[in-house]
Amino acid sequence: MSASRIRAILALAGKDLRLLSRNRATLFFALAWPVLMALFFGYVFGGGGEKGRIPVVVVDEDRTGESTRLVALLTATAGLEITSAPREEATRLVRQGKRSAAVIVPAGYGEAAGRLFHGAPRKLELEVDPARTAEGAMLEGILTGAAMQSMQELFTDPSKTLGMVDRTIADLGSAPESEGRDSTRKFLGELRSFVERPRPAQTGEGGGPGWKPLEIERREVRREKVGPSSAFDFTFPQGILWGVIGSALGFALSLVTERTRGTLLRLETSPLSRLDVLVGKALACFVAITAVETVLLLLGVAFFGIHPASWLLLAAATLAVAVCFVGIMMTVAVLGKTEQAAGGLGWAIMMPLSMFGGGMIPLFVMPAWMQTVSNLSPVKWGIVALEGATWRGFSAAEMATPLGVLVLVGLAGFALGVRLFRGGEG
C-alpha cells in the first residue's frame, strides 16, 4: 500500500472522527447515555451506596478492654466500614468479596498489650483478598497506627504505666538469667522512677532491637467468583455496549449519508478504491468505539468501583468489542440504502441482539433457556468479555471464547460488508 493511499485513508478516518466530534446527538448517545443507563440500572439493582470506605469485618476473640478499645478505634477511623462476625463467617465474607478484609483479634491480645518490652508482641491476624493489595496495605497502616495510639495512652496515663512496669518486673523475676533480662529490669526501674516524679509525662519511641509494638499476621484469602461486588459491575458493561452500539450505528448511518449526499460519489471518482473508503470508515469507527469504551471504563474504575481483574485482558476485551461492532457496522451500512432504512435496519438488528444478549437485563438473572439463546448475540459476548476482565476475574483461557467470538463476528461482518459494497461497483 502506497504512502499516499495510507495518507488518504487516514484523511478519511480523521474526517469522520472530526464529524463525530461535531455531532452532539451522536456524542450524547455514545458517551452520556451509556453512563446514565449504567447509573440508572446500577441504582435500580441496588448498586451505589456510600463509597470510598473499605468494608472490613472484625473478629474479637480476645474480648478484653484492649481488644474492645482497638475495635472502637477502628470503628472511629474514617475510611473503614466496620462490622463484627465470628471467625468463619468473616473469612466467608472476604471470600465472597462482600468484605475487603477481616481483622481477627486473637485471644491473648490484651494480655500481650500489658507486657510491652518483653515476650511476644501483641498479635493481630489480617485476612485480605490478594487482588486488593492497596486496601490491605492501607489497613495494615491503620492497625499499626491504632496500636501506637494504644501505646501512647499507656505512657500518658501514669497509673497504667506503673501497673505495666510492675507486672513486667514481676514477670522478669521468673524468666531465665540473661544479659537482656538484667538490662530490661534496670531500664524498667529507671522508668518507674521517671513516672513517679511529679513532672509532665514525656512521650517517646520505645523498644529495643527487634522490638515492635504490634505483629500482624497476614493471610491471603482469595476471593471466590460468586458475583459482582456492586450492581455497577454489570450495569457498566451493559452501558458500554449501548455506547458501542450507538457509535457503530452512527457510523453506519454516516456511510449511507455519504451515499445520499453525493460525497461518496466524489470519493469513488477519486483515486481511492471502494475498499479504501470502507477501510477509512472502519478505522474511524474502531477508534471511536475504543475511545468510548475507554472513557466509560475509566469513569467506572474511578468513580463506581469497577475493578479490572487484569488490565491486559480488559484491553483485549475492549479491542475485541470494537472489532466486532465495526464489522456489524459495515454490514448494516451497506445493506441500508437510505438513512431511514439503515437506521431502521440497524436498530431492528441491534435491539433483539441487545435484549437477548444482556444489554437490558443482566445475563445472570435470565432464565436458562434465554441464556442459551443469548449465545447467538455478540452483545452477550461483549458483556461477558468486559465482565470477565473485571468482576468475573476470568483467566486468559476463559477469555479466549468471548474474545474469539467477538473477533470472528467482526471479521465476518467486515468481509460481508466489503463484498456487498464492492458488489455495488458498476
Binding site: 495518507r7 472530526r18 449526499r261 470519493l267 483515486p271 481511492l272 458498476g426
Partner: protein, 282 residues
Amino acid sequence: MLALRDLHKRFGERVAVDGLSLEVRRGEILGLLGPNGAGKSTTIHMAVGLLEPDRGEVDVDGRGSPRNPAVRGMLGVAPQAIALYEALTPEENLRFFGRVQGLSGAALAGRVEWALAFASLGDRRRDRTAELSGGMKRRLNMAAALVHDPALILLDEPTVGVDPQSRNAILDRVVELRGAERAVVYTTHYMDEAARICDRIAIIDNGRMLALGTVADLVSRHGGDPTLVVVEGGVERRIATRDPAGELSRILSAGRVDDFRVERADLEAVFLRLTGRRLRDE
C-alpha cells in the same frame, strides 16, 4: 482529453446507452443536454469510471479507462447534489478532498488557497459549510472538484437553485477553466447557459447521440426556417421562410402592413424538434 467510443450500457431489459461516441478536447466546454432518462447520467458515470460499459471504451488523455485509480486522479467531478460535509468548514472540506486526491504539505496548502479564492470564500473559510448561502455552497461544491487541479472536469448542473448573481459568477468561473486549457463536460437544464458558455453541444436521447456541434451549427441544421410574423389590420400572420426579407418585401408591395417581426430558432427549439420534449418540463 476524453474519448467515448461506441459505448453501450444496458440495465436488464432497458438500454441506457446505445452506441454513443463523443470526444472532448482541451480548452473546450462541451454541453451535454438530454431529457431525464436520456442516458446522460449513465454516460457520465461511465466517463468517470463509476460504471463499466458493456461494450465500447472510455479513454482519458490516452491513458486508458478511468476504472484505473491513477487515471481517476485526472478527473474532477462536481455532482449535482451539494456533495460537501456541512459540519466541516470550507477550508476543512477542501483540505480533505485535496488529501484524498493525494495532495499534501505545501502543495495542498497552495491548492486550498487557490480553491478558496476560486469560490470567493476566503473570508468564510472557517465558518461551517452549513451556514453558507446556496450560491456559496454551489461555488464550494465546484471548488472541491478542482482542488487537485484536474485536467478533465465534469460539472453536473452546477447552477441549480442559485440566484442570478451567483449563477453568473459560476458561469464566469467555468469560462476561466476553458482559458486554463481544461476540458469541461457541462450538463444543464438551462438552454441559455449552454448557449452562452459551451463551445459545442451534444444532445442525447434514448441513449443515442441526436446532434453534436456548435450552437450555430445546431440551429442551422435542426432549427428549421425563420418565421416572419406580420400584422395586417390587427390580424397576425406567421410565415415560415428561408428569406424573411424577400418575403416581407413581397408582402409590402401587395398592401399595408401594421407591424412585423422575424422569429429565429434557438437551442430550445432545436432541442424540442430533436427530442419532442422541452428540457425544463421533464
